[in-house]
């Protein structure tokens, strides 16, 4: 425990009125600075949200949700192909990473012993910090080895995103599984329940709300990813229903595309970009909120 030494101790005695003037001024100044900086930090957030809403509303119409960009030059067009692509790639990512992540968490909590388990824990930490673009390069190298150079497909994008989502799922599931009291496990064992049934019937149901909530946060993290998809899923203007062949656009890449390849009619490209940004922000915030609610509402009842 640190010993607290005040530099000018003698002047402090009975509350605020006797506090020496310099110290009071410093305290007030610190309060103002800290409150001011907090307000400053919120300015970008407010500005960004305001711009997204004010510029995005202009194209938030049925056309935007009903059309792709196929054959569109200038005004009109929509993001249906990007919304479809986001749905397909996100779905594939969930299929790839949620079962694997939960299984790895079960391994770490229920089975993991010794150096191998420590290595897995360490690598999950490392995975949390992988830059998303590196994940994209990895997916590209894997797929180009099988399908040749220049390969682009939705499932390659899903592989890259899985690399980013798995650590989130493992970490949150692991934490939730560790919160399940050992009393429950011991009670099951005492009744002669095999370990795998204990995990399946007792441990997982108790932790399920936290696991679902953690997985949703993983989805919120990957749904806005742009860089890896730019590399391996590419972009197109048309609908693509097939994850396994051809380029597939997602909403974040759509935003980038609208900005990068704008035609003469700049305003309509910018408007589409901001509308897509607004939809994307709303989507991410809804997932975040829903994940909090799931964690709160479906938590095991403690009395």
């Amino acid at each position: 425990m640190a010993v607290i030494v005040l530099d000018r101790a003698p002047s402090i005695a009975l509350g605020k009125h006797t506090v020496r003037r310099g110290r009071r001024v410093a305290d007030t100044a610190a309060t103002w600075v800290i409150c001011g900086v907090f307000g400053l930090a919120l300015i970008p957030l407010v500005s960004l949200l305001w711009t997204a809403v004010s510029r995005g509303l202009s194209r938030l119409d049925a056309d935007f949700f009903g059309n792709s960009m196929r054959g569109v030059v200038g005004a009109g067009g929509g993001a249906l192909h990007a919304i479809l692509g986001t749905g397909l790639i996100t779905g594939a990512t969930i299929v790839l990473s949620v079962p694997l992540g939960i299984a790895a968490a079960i391994y770490l909590v229920e089975y993991g012993r010794g150096p191998f388990a420590r290595a897995v824990t360490f690598l999950v930490d490392v995975m949390t910090g992988i830059p998303s673009i590196v994940a994209g390069l990895f997916a590209y190298t894997v797929f180009s080895m099988v399908f040749g150079p220049g390969v682009r497909s939705g499932v390659a994008g899903a592989l890259a995103l899985s690399l980013l989502m798995i650590p989130v799922v493992v970490r949150s599931s692991e934490e939730m599984l560790r919160l399940v009291p050992d009393d429950l496990r011991e009670a099951a064992y005492a009744l002669g329940t095999p370990k795998y049934r204990t995990i399946g019937k007792i441990v997982l149901p108790t932790a399920i709300s936290g696991i679902v909530s953690g997985s949703m946060l993983g989805v919120a993290r990957i749904v806005g990813e742009t860089a890896p998809l730019l590399l391996v899923a590419g972009y197109s203007d048309a609908m693509n229903y097939n994850l396994f062949s051809e380029r597939m656009t997602t909403l974040p890449v759509y935003i980038y595309q609208q900005w990068k390849f704008k035609g003469a009619d700049v305003a309509s490209y910018d408007d589409r970009a901001w509308t897509a940004a607004l939809v994307l922000i709303a989507f991410v915030l809804v997932i975040n909120l829903a994940s909090r609610l799931v964690a709160k509402w479906f938590a095991p009842k403690t009395r």
């Binding site: 907090f38 930090a41 204990t198 108790t206 915030l285």
Partner: protein, 342 residues
């Protein structure tokens, strides 16, 4: 099942877990988590064996995947190191001529971003944990976390179309009045798309993660220290300086390093905001010509790259992977050493 009552320790939802994906304040001080109890010592049943193998296989998959990342990038990146002029992107004569300035740009942009982000993040964390009424601490923290939830491509769009034009005037003023300062030298950019703008956007993006870590460690300050300081008549600021900061120093450092790891790997915001110049290594902040970063360069060049260019970009990715790996590893070492109670 309805009668089973699960007792969970109160988990403080600080948002940190969601941002960095690591266990938060639930860990008992100074004590490792206990392992789940063993089921039995008898013969393993078929179902048990299958379940154990399945779970172990999942763990092994993670191991293999990460080893794969390193090995695949190495295998595909190495040829570029030997490649000569004509094969490399941007007409580079050697791989290192390409990689050196980009690595510098990545580190320079991330360092600038941290320079702005750390003080603001500490102040934000202090405000939420020490100044704001307890009732609002949760909602305020969630508001700051919204900053982390916004996709980077949206930051890019905002930085490019809203923020950069606003900074152009400021840069002209800085250049006119403080041009003698080496960092502000040269002709100021008219568009505002400089490395300083990019670093400021990056700072906004890494702010929430640093603030979340700081908030977490500030809240873990031993109540006794705080009360002792208050009992001696310390003002709130003195309490923070004397009781909170010394306790939280390593936490702030590790939060900053996690932010650094994120800033180094951030791609889209830089790729969109910055107007880069190939092979440039310069510390000037306000010019039209700016050093590019590794991540942004990959994103800009990869879609049109072919042949050896692809290998060169993969090699750059490997360098970025190694740098962020080292930074994250150090950050976690600091976290591990500074567990509360240590």
């Amino acid at each position: 099942m309805g009668t089973v009552v699960a007792e969970r320790p109160a988990v403080r939802d600080s948002g940190l877990n969601r941002l960095v994906g690591q266990p938060e304040g639930t860990r008992p001080p100074g004590k490792r988590w206990g392992k789940a109890p063993k089921a039995s010592t008898g013969v393993e049943r078929a179902g048990d064996r299958a379940a154990r193998r399945l779970a172990t296989a999942a763990g092994a998959t993670i191991l293999v995947a990460l080893a794969g990342v390193g090995l695949f990038l190495l295998a595909r990146g190495l040829p570029a190191v030997r490649a000569g002029q004509g094969d490399l992107p941007e007409g580079a004569t050697s791989f290192w001529q390409l990689a050196g300035p980009l690595a510098f740009g990545s580190v320079w942009a991330a360092a600038l971003a941290l320079l702005f982000a750390i003080p603001v993040a500490v102040a934000v964390a202090l405000f939420i944990s020490m100044y704001a009424p307890r009732r609002f601490a949760g909602p305020l923290g969630a508001t700051v976390d919204v900053l982390a939830a916004i996709p980077s491509v949206v930051y890019g769009l905002w930085g490019l179309m809203v923020f950069a034009p606003m900074t152009a005037g400021l840069y002209r003023w800085l250049s006119d009045h403080m041009g003698w300062f080496p960092l502000f030298a040269g002709k100021p950019s008219a568009t505002g798309r400089t490395i300083l703008t990019a670093a400021l956007v990056l700072a906004v993006m890494v702010l929430p993660i640093i603030a979340a870590v700081c908030r977490e460690v500030f809240l873990q300050t031993p109540a006794l220290s705080v009360e002792a300081a208050l009992a001696l008549g310390a003002t709130r600021w003195e309490t923070i300086r004397l009781a909170v900061f010394p306790f939280a120093r390593s936490g702030i450092v590790s939060g900053a390093m996690l932010g650094l790891g994120r800033a180094l790997g951030e791609t889209m915001a830089i790729a969109m905001v910055l107007s880069p110049t190939p092979f440039l290594m310069s510390v000037r902040l306000l010019n039209n010509t700016n050093p590019n970063t590794i991540a942004a360069s990959i994103a800009q060049n990869f879609p049109e790259a072919y042949g050896m260019e692809v290998n060169a970009l993969i090699g750059l990715g490997l360098i970025l992977f190694v740098i962020t790996f080292a930074v994250n590893y150090l950050a976690r070492r600091v976290v591990a050493r500074s567990q509360p109670g240590a």
